[in-house]
């Protein structure tokens, strides 16, 4: 039982990798005040293009890089339409989400059922022999290590570096940042493109590893982008909490699948969409967490649990203040 569980958990860490990377990418974008609703489309399109590129070049790295390039390009279009052309971030984001999805189904037609290289795990010598931790974190694919590095790097970037401070200031109060000589819209371009490139990396992680191949609309990637967006909110725009959200999500999914046999009465269709009501519930929870009656309710709980959930002394609404609001200098 123990080792089964460990294998399961290692699987959770592995399968959360694309969500972690994409959600941290979106986190960075939103920190600058830009809302990228195209995430869902970017993941599907980059999965397909990344797969096609890896197939043609017979190279994994080409696949990943192409996926990121696709993401970056979509991010640029989003930033251009919303910043330079002053269109609504929601409208452009949604249109791009649909466009990317349709585009991937159309262009991916020729790549259906082909097989491209697939990434294998690369255990880190010595570290992988540490009991439990070794199996969980050091016997994974390179991409999975990258997702772990991403968490630390994003935390470091946002809180310990000057560019990170600039990023936070732009998301909080762009007009004040502008008055201090920061080119607000350039910062927003950069982080929209960077964040989208990270989202674009998530696609090939699926099509070249977790769900190898391209099967059109049956690939089962449609919808993950929305989960990524919800996890960003759940994590309160903090890379560490966002990553924890991703692991929690994958854990629940694994739990559902692992115990599917025991819940034979529940039809498979229901379990497949279980993530989405779960997503809604977490968003409800995040909102209630901000409500006062929730605070008084959880005060009844044991202290450590109360302390974890309580927002006393913390910011009630951690969303970047200027999220979704365009900035124009005089």
């Amino acid at each position: 039982m123990g080792s089964d569980f460990l294998i399961g958990m290692a699987g959770v860490v592995a399968s959360a990798a694309p969500i972690v990377i994409a959600a941290i990418g979106e986190n960075l974008t939103e920190k600058s005040g830009m809302l990228n609703l195209a995430v869902n489309g970017i993941i599907v399109l980059s999965a397909m293009v990344g797969f096609a590129a890896a197939y043609e070049a017979n190279s994994l790295i080409v696949g990943y890089l192409t996926g990121m390039l696709v993401g970056a390009l979509v991010g640029f279009i989003l930033a251009f339409c919303t910043i330079a052309l002053n269109q609504s971030q929601v409208a452009v984001g949604l249109v791009l989400a649909f466009l990317c999805r349709d585009l991937s189904y159309f262009m991916g037609n020729d790549f259906m059922g082909l097989s491209a290289p697939v990434i294998h795990s690369a255990p880190i010598p010595y570290l992988c022999e540490i009991p439990i931790l070794g199996a969980l974190f050091f016997d994974q694919t390179v991409i999975c290590y990258l997702s772990l590095i991403c968490i630390a790097a994003a935390l470091f970037w946002i809180h310990k570096t000057r560019p990170g401070l600039i990023l936070r200031s732009v998301g909080e109060r762009p007009e004040a940042a502008f008055a201090r000589g920061i080119n607000v819209n350039r910062v927003r371009y950069i982080y929209t493109i960077l964040g989208s490139a990270m989202v674009g990396l998530a696609g090939p992680i699926y099509s070249l590893g977790l769900k190898p191949g391209w099967k059109g609309s049956m690939t089962g990637l449609d919808g993950i982008g929305w989960i990524v967006l919800a996890i960003t909110i759940f994590g309160g725009w903090n890379p560490l909490r966002v990553a924890l959200g991703a692991y929690l999500f994958e854990f629940l999914r694994w739990f559902g699948l692992a115990y599917q046999t025991k819940l034979s009465g529940v039809p498979s269709q229901v379990l497949q969409v279980a993530p989405f009501p779960l997503m809604i519930l977490t968003l409800v929870f995040v909102n209630f967490k901000n409500a006062e009656w929730f605070e008084s309710l959880i005060r009844l709980l044991p202290h450590p649990i109360y302390k974890f959930f309580s927002l006393k002394g913390k910011r009630r609404n951690p969303a970047p203040s200027s999220l979704g609001i365009p900035f124009r200098n005089v």
Binding site: L165, E172, A176, A179
Partner: protein, 487 residues
Amino acid sequence: MKIEIRNIHKSFGKVHANDGISLTVETGEILGVLGENGAGKTTLMKILAGLQPYDSGEILIDEKPVHYDSANTALGLGIGMLAQDPLDFPMLTIFDNLYLGMQNGFLIKKRGFKKKVAEMEDELGFHFDLSDLVGNLSIGERQQLEILRLLLFGSELIILDEPTTGISAQQKKQLFVLLKKLASMGKTVIFVTHKLSEVNDLCQRTIVLRQGKLVGEVAIPCGSSSLIKLMFGRNIDLESPGDVSEASPLFGIQNMVIKDPRFFSNPVNLAIHKGEILGLAGMEGSGQKTFLRTLAGLEKPVEGMILDGGVPIRGNSPHDFIKLGIYFMPAARMEEGLIQGMTLEEHFILSLGKDDFFVDRDHAQKVTRSRIKDFAIKGFPQSMAEELSGGNQQRLLLAMLHEKARLLLLENPTRGLDIESTNWMWNKLHDRCEKGASIIFASADIDELLRFSNRIVVFFGGKISQPFSSQEMNSEKLGALIGGEGW
């Protein structure tokens, strides 16, 4: 730093905001800039600070002509401006807020910078906890923080735009001490205000702006009456306040405790009489806004209740309160009061209309036309709200208050209006009172409060005073109360 401006012009559409202004400010001088609202003070200061481009003219620093087109380049030349609403980051720590835009390099280097900050703090005589959030500071402290930041950046000229609007008397005293210290350190200070006493307390010299023109340059001290004449172009007689109405109480407030983001108030008991005007005094953010919003049903009181003719009001939305004849007029015109992209007629349909399903457009148009005429709004039934000028938007807001209103809650009803419009506005409001409505209004202007209210309630740091009859009140006493003295 000596700064000289020559023949500066700036127009917004048809409004000549700055009309050929020339001026010299010497090193170490504190110059006052006086003028009523809309005289062009803020525009001139924004031009000086690089926040606003100008149409023509010249700026010279230490005899050398300079050009700049952004706040950042102005800052680089040593010109820093403290805006009315400090341009800082409430959600960042004080350290991050100071660090931003100041240092280069990739990593945030804490130690060296902290030392630099501490040195400057010692020189100025105040200290901040650098790990605290900016948002936890009072407005006065945030002003000090901004001045500290500008000095760290090496500013030689500091411009302050109406810095005393939201701060207490105590904080004002501290600010003035600080500004005098800056002048003695050889910094140049430009101090914008519309309050005569402040110019007399602080400045060596003042200029007066009226309708975009520089109309006078006066050495301080000088008599108030000549300054008033320069500011308004005429003498203004301050009227005495009206009598407290002894009519029956219309609304009552019983043990009401309000909740502001920063505090809970003390319980308030108050009766509002028919036809009475009640003024809410206090520095901005002392709870007047929350008080008005609570009475309008926009916020819930923590405790206590509001009585309507002795009966507690059981509504929980503005809709319910409006049904009872309680109307709220917000200060933020385009944000909370009017709707961008909707016509005046539609505004009147929404605010004055009946509860019919199909809208009677003919009737609506008739109503709209008559209101436009009565309230002298420069616009047409089909004009969009955002096409009106600020003053006309304010008139529109006033016109949207239903005749059936029994209690009008007005948040800074005359802010941004000139004297003429203010008087006109108050004439209209007095008409309402004669017809039996009561008014509660908040204002930052002591003169307005004393002139128009029957009774005044003072707000200070979460405390709400008993009502004072304005006959037993004078501007010194009220000013002291607003500043937290004499409680």
